[in-house]
Symmetry: C2
Subunit: 509 residues, 2 copies
């Protein structure tokens, strides 16, 4: 009996995922191909809104509550918490509760407010006018607090937890702080050491202009070598690179090209291909369209993109392999550059104002600023009026830079303007997981850098398949980390990785 109920529940979920993946196609096409003129953009928004409405109807179908109740009391389905059935019930329960706990009027109010706030933010950023945006930020925080009250949070926790849970299940501000704060001060010290006492690598890599078509052919070669299957996916171009999976056999990546920014194109494409390789290797067959068959969002997904972007794509071994490839695709364009110009050029550390332009090391400080500030905004410890000044203080303290304008300060990111609080830390959690996974892989597989230098990326990627990808959502992120590395997440592996690599490049070791 309950098996039939379980099948109904899963079938319902799979049908909902058909709509979700169709919405993904609408989004992909909009960013990669759709004409921008006339009424095409507005019509596309209507198509997407319609599918969003149909998806929400299915996500909140009251039959789900009955099906879940019947299945959750069936021990056969739940006795092994890592079984596909138990995982599916756990995730569908989480999804259903979050989707149904908000009253309709709050959902509507939030959707409307965030749409208007996003417009106000874009204008305010352009005008460098924080005051024009502040009332909207205040409204979004008030509404987010109401949302958090509906979702609820664990005893001893705080309001931030309820919102972050939508991006990173079961995370709390306390657990995030436990890994982010130990990262912060040593990272500030390391960056100071590099910049004050180290030998900065040259920026000659980014001064060389090469044809876009050669760049396109080059990155395709690299990402397929790294394990992204271009026969089960596509690589296109868009303003902001992204990865979106329609199905494990149809994963779409985008990247971008500029004549003098091969390094940017390579990094972006490797990053997205890390997401893509994960999506292409989640559980197959009957698990497709189920939570168990899906990748873990968001930090673990980010760990896979950072693994390929940073631990592979900015590594010494990778550049030993890649340097001769440059000659193959770009003729003599890079001939005057030394190995250090290439490898060092891909690893320059710079005190900067803008998160999305940050290097592998400083990036995490940009995140920590945001985590600390959003936590304080939500708890009420920081008022929206005091945000710009708090931002300036932290950028001075952690990143060592003066923030000249709010446009280059607290107005730079879209996240808060969309009401996305609790999202930022997943980026750095991804970096932390990536470093810890890399160490575990290296302990098992030996000298990965020598393998990379010989063009052998398969051992690492195969290790990722076996240890992470093939499990789908079997484990929650912290449990996966313990399962794979034998330890809870810690800031040490990332710190060690950055210290070792960057001190060597900056000739401090």
């Amino acid at each position: 009996m309950s098996n039939t109920t379980y099948e109904q529940l899963i079938d319902h979920h799979r049908r909902m995922e058909l709509l979700v993946s169709t919405t993904y196609l609408l989004a992909w096409d909009q960013e990669t191909l759709m004409p921008r003129g006339g009424g095409a953009v507005e019509y596309r928004a209507r198509q997407m809104a319609q599918l969003a409405r149909l998806t929400h109807e299915r996500r909140t179908d009251p039959r789900i509550a009955d099906w879940l109740a019947a299945c959750e009391s069936d021990t056969e389905l739940t006795v092994d918490p890592t079984s596909p059935s138990a995982v599916n019930l756990r995730e569908i329960r989480r999804d259903y509760n979050r989707a149904t706990r908000l009253p309709g009027d709050l959902v509507e109010q939030f959707t409307q407010t965030s749409a208007m706030a996003k417009n106000a933010w874009a204008q305010a950023r352009q005008d460098d006018d924080y005051e024009a945006f502040e009332p909207w930020l205040k409204k979004l925080i008030d509404l987010s607090r109401r949302k958090a009250e509906c979702y609820g949070w664990q005893d001893g926790g705080e309001i931030w937890d309820a919102l972050a849970d939508g991006y990173e299940p079961d995370i709390t501000a306390a657990t995030a702080e436990a890994v982010l704060t130990p990262l912060r001060d040593p990272l500030v010290e390391l960056i100071d050491e590099l910049i004050v006492r180290g030998a900065e690598p040259s920026d000659r890599f980014n001064e060389i202009i090469v044809p876009l078509d050669a760049q396109r052919a080059f990155v395709r070669d690299v990402v397929s070598h790294i394990g992204f299957d271009l026969e089960r996916g596509r690589l296109a171009e868009s303003v902001h690179p992204f990865c979106i999976p329609f199905h494990r056999d149809d994963v779409r990546l985008t990247t971008r090209f500029h004549a003098n920014m091969l390094n940017d194109a390579l990094g972006s494409t490797l990053h997205e291909s890390g997401h893509g390789v994960y999506n292409q290797n989640t559980p197959a067959g009957e698990h497709i369209g189920t939570p168990f068959g899906s990748a873990i969002r968001l930090s673990i997904h980010e760990s896979q993109s950072r693994m390929i972007e940073n631990h592979v794509g900015r590594s010494e071994g990778f550049w030993r392999w890649c340097a001769p490839k440059l000659r193959e695709y770009f003729g003599g364009a890079y001939d005057a550059l030394s190995f250090d110009d290439l490898y060092g050029g891909a690893n320059r550390v710079q005190r900067g104002l803008i998160r999305v332009e940050a290097d592998e090391a400083t990036y995490n400080l940009h995140i920590i600023v945001r985590f600390e500030l959003e936590r304080a905004l939500l708890s009420g410890d920081l008022s929206t009026g005091d945000l710009p000044e708090a931002w300036r203080q932290r950028y001075r303290k952690y990143l060592g830079v003066d923030v000249p304008t709010d446009a280059l300060g607290c107005l730079q990111d879209i996240h808060w303007a969309q009401g996305a609080f609790g999202y930022f830390p997943t980026y750095t959690l991804g970096n932390l997981y990536a470093a810890q996974f890399y160490d575990a892989a290296a302990a098992e597989l030996g000298d990965l850098q020598s393998q990379f230098a010989r063009g052998e990326f398969e051992p690492l990627v195969d290790w990722l398949h076996r240890n992470i990808h093939q499990h789908g959502m079997r484990y929650p992120a912290p449990a996966l980390c313990e399962h794979v590395t034998g330890k809870p997440l810690s800031s040490e592996p990332l710190l060690n990785h950055l210290r070792t690599k960057l001190r060597s490049i900056y000739q401090l070791s």
Copy 2:
């Protein structure tokens, strides 16, 4: 009150069209970009089936019957039969009746049978084994008869009418015969005259190999010159060229390229751009997503593609303009060819077996064979067992060729294998409408060929906008023809066009 009801009806229809256009995107992506490996194809079929089911639910929503009844009795909405409201009511009524008249079990049986028949047909064609396909054809004819009984037809008409009405509203076998049969024998005579007594143009045009990228750039230049707005549409590649509109500002074309078939690429792209120009110029604003704002299917749509493909793209004036362009895109590749090699090469008439490879003249005889045979199959005058022999007889009589195998004979097209009876004549009706429209345009605009020779296509395309495109579905096809040309559809304009052009090319005038 009824205005509100009318708005509800239109709003409901617009929402349904959002789903339809989303399905179009799934189809476009499948043909142009989607990976073919793994489970991507099957998953895409499920996404499309889901949207088809959601669309059908909306199309047959019982509230439509109530809304229609209320609106149809409101003279304010219907007093002017060419007003947007009257047209929308007329078309939604037609759509609703056709969608609801079939019992669910018949729809299901037809869907399943045609899916299996399509597979059986593909195999039978490959094996040249008509006997293996015949039972499926018989089943499809039986089911189509049952469908026709549900739809019903006019007194004095016949079963074919009820099925053809789904492709060409209000057409009857008698009205189709009244234009197709007067075309048949004179066309047989003309082709005989050309081939027996005329001077056949050389085929040197199709012997020259040119790079695909140059072909791509060339056809883009030509179609944008001809009036297809590439800023409000896209041109991609697929195995079979097609045009699909998501919105009047987002019309997607596909074409195909082969190294030695520039002529084929040009003809295909011009054909699809004719459809595209129509879709880009249907009524805008509030009419988008309504029947009134849509193009007339199928023969009038085909007339626009044939206008651009044949009356423009195979005309002397076009080639006077285009010949120098070849030098621009392909260097000296075509230098050894004379004007007659180009213009004549685009207008060679050949007795052939295959419809999709046929020239402008013989094409219509391929259609007339199919029209006569499907009419006889449905009425019972011809049994499926006798189809191959009847096919051979007609190909001998009309086209002057011996059909060596059924694979090259009655098994060549997919249409009947999908249960599409009554579809074929719309192709030749399109040719007839195109010729009659062209004459009317020339009567108003003067010497179109001289304009084309100067690269001036705008007068003709503007005439099409004013007389055809901007009306959307205001007029049924026959009424549009009378409105635009002052006469009912006739076979004379097409016959005159082919006689004049081809006798001149074949040096018989």
